[in-house]
C-alpha cells in the first residue's frame, strides 16, 4: 500500500550516542508499493538518522552483533528478524548490550 508508516523508535544502552543522545524518535516512513520490512528500515535509518560511525550500529545489511532488537516488546528473532514486515505504529527498540555492567 502507499500509505506512509508511522513508527516509534527507541535507542538504549548507549546506542543513543550515535543519534545525538536522543532516545525516542517518532518517524514517518514514506509510502511505497511494497510493505516496509526491517531490512529496508535499517537501510533507511543508516541513510537518514545515523549521524556518525555507521559501523558501530550496522554491519552489512543487519545490525551489529551485540545490539538487541525488540519489535513491540518481543525479540525480533521470533518475528523473523530482517524479513518482518512493519505495520503502522509499531514500536522498535534497539538496545546495545556492549556497554555497561
Amino acid at each position: 500500500m502507499a500509505a506512509p508508516l508511522g513508527l516509534q523508535l527507541e535507542f538504549g544502552g548507549g546506542a543513543e550516542l550515535l543519534f545525538d543522545g536522543v532516545k525516542n524518535h517518532h518517524v514517518t516512513l514514506p509510502g511505497q508499493s511494497d510493505p516496509w520490512d526491517m531490512k529496508q528500515l535499517l537501510a533507511w535509518i543508516r541513510g537518514n538518522m545515523l549521524k556518525e560511525r555507521p559501523e558501530l550500529f550496522m554491519q552489512g545489511d543487519t545490525v551489529r552483533p551485540g545490539i538487541l532488537v525488540l519489535i513491540n516488546d518481543a525479540d525480533w528473532e521470533l518475528m523473523g528478524e530482517l524479513e518482518y514486515q512493519l505495520q503502522d505504529q509499531d514500536n522498535v527498540v534497539f538496545i546495545s548490550t556492549l556497554h555497561g555492567g
Binding site: 538504549g12 544502552g13 548507549g14 543513543e16 550516542l17 560511525r53 558501530l56 554491519q59 552489512g60 552483533p65 551485540g66 538487541l68 525488540l70 516488546d73 518481543a74 525479540d75 528473532e77 521470533l78 518475528m79 523473523g80 527498540v93 538496545i95 548490550t97 556492549l98 556497554h99 555497561g100 555492567g101
Partner: protein, 495 residues
Amino acid sequence: MCQVEEDYNGLECNQEKIPVPTLNRKCMKCKEGTAVLIIRVNDAFCQSCFKEYFVHKFRAMLGKNRVIFPQEKVLLAVSGGAASCSMLSQVQEGLSREAPKKFRFVPGIIYIDDGGACGRSTEERQRSNAQLKSIFTETGFPYFIVPLEQVFSLPTSVLVPGTSDPDPSNPSYKQAVDQYVKEKQTLTQENVVSAVAQLSIEDSAYSPEHKLAFERLLSSLKTLTAKEDMLQTLRQHLILHVARENGYSKVMMGDSCSRLAVKLLSNIALGRGAALASDTGFSDPRYGDVVIVRPMRDYSSKEIAFYSRMFNVPSVFISGLDTKTHDKASIQRLTESFVTNLQSDFPSTVSTIYRTSEKLHTVMPPQSQTAEPASKCLLCLCALDIKVGKASAFHATLVSEQLSQIKLPDTSAERCCTEGQGCGPGGCCSSNRLPSHQDLKTLLCYSCRLTIKDMVATDALPPYIITEAEKRQKRSRMKMEISEYLLEDEEEDGD
C-alpha cells in the same frame, strides 16, 4: 571457524539458525503464553516465565556457592549499566520477600565516578551522579558515590591483603544459618531500619590537585590497553578501601557471562593467565578480608538487557573509556568485538568459554595466609609469577627483549650511595628518590609490568603505590644484607 565475516556472506549458515515456523510461538516452559524472547539457541520464554527464570537463577547462584553468611554486610558495586542495576533490583526483590526465603545479608551500594578518565565535563558528571543518587535513594540502602580521583588519598594498607581467619565462633555456613534462624526475626527489621537511618552520602569532593594528578597519570600511559588496565586496578583499590573502611566483607560485582568471557580471553592476551581463576570465577579471595563475588556471571547480556527493558529497571548509561572507539583501539576492545561477532554466528561461543572458566581453579599454596606481602604483586595482589628458573618461558621473553632492544646508556642509574651499600635507616642520600621502571619491575606480576612499562613517568603513580613499593624494596634489600645471619626455616613444601 575463526573467519566470521569474510567468507560467510555467500554461504548458507544453516547449522545454528533454526527457522521459526510461525510468528506466535508458545513459551517452552508453560506452553501457554506467547513467547517474547529467545534465550540460548532455541528456548522461547513468555514474560512471566522469563521473570521467574531470571529471579531463580540469581537465588540459585547465591545459594549454590555458600559464601554469603547471614547478617553479613555486602557492598554492591554499581556502574550504572544494565547488569549492575539488574543485580541491584534482584537484591532489592530478594530482600523484600517474606521470611524464610528472604535474603539475609545487609547491602550497601558503591558507585565509582571515573568521568575524569573518560574526559567527561564536571556538569556531565554531576548530572549522572544526580541521576544515580535518585536511583539509590529509592532502594533505601546506604550508598557511596566516590570519584576515582580520591585514589590519590588512599593509604598503603590497600595493597596489603588482609587476613581471612574465620572466627572460631562462626564456623560453617550451615551452622551459621541455623544459628540465625533461631534468633528472633525482629532483629533483622531493626538492622534494616538502622541502616536506612545512617544513609552515608559520600560527598563527591576531590581537590583540584588530585584532578590534575589523575589526568597526569592517565596521560603518561600511552596505549588505551594500559589505560583501561590501570583504571580497572585503581577502581578495585578504591572499592576495596571503601569496603574495608565501612566494615563490608563482601563485594558483589555485576559482571555478566558475556562480559566475563571477553575478560577471560583478553586477560590471557594481557598476560594475566595465572590469575584467571580469581579474575573470572565466582569468588575472588585475593584480598583476604574482602571477598569479591560475581552473582551475575550466569546471565548473558541479552537476558540482562531484556529483563532490564521489560521490567523497567532504572539504569543510567555512562560512557566509558572505550566508547565509540574503533575495533582495534585496545586489546580489550578487540577481544570484545571478536567474541561478539563469533557469538552471532555460533551462539554457543560464550557459554563454551564460560564453562571452561568454571573449570579453572587456582592451586593454593599450603600456607597462603602466612605468606608475606612481598610475594604478591604490588598492583593486582595476585601471586607473583616471575620467580621462576632459567628454563622457563618467562626467562625466554626477558632474554629476547634484551636482545631486541637497542641498549640505552644506563638511565636507571638512580642507585643511591655506592654499590653494595644499601640505604641506611636514616633515609637515602637523594631526597626524593622515586622508583624507576627497573625497581618497580621486581614487585609486579607479568601483566602489571607491561602496564607500567607503558608509562612514560612512573612518578605519576598515586603516592600510596610509590610508598608501598619503596617499603618493599627496602625490606628485600635489608633481607639480602642480613641473609647470612638468618636461620633458614625448613621449607614445608620441599622445593
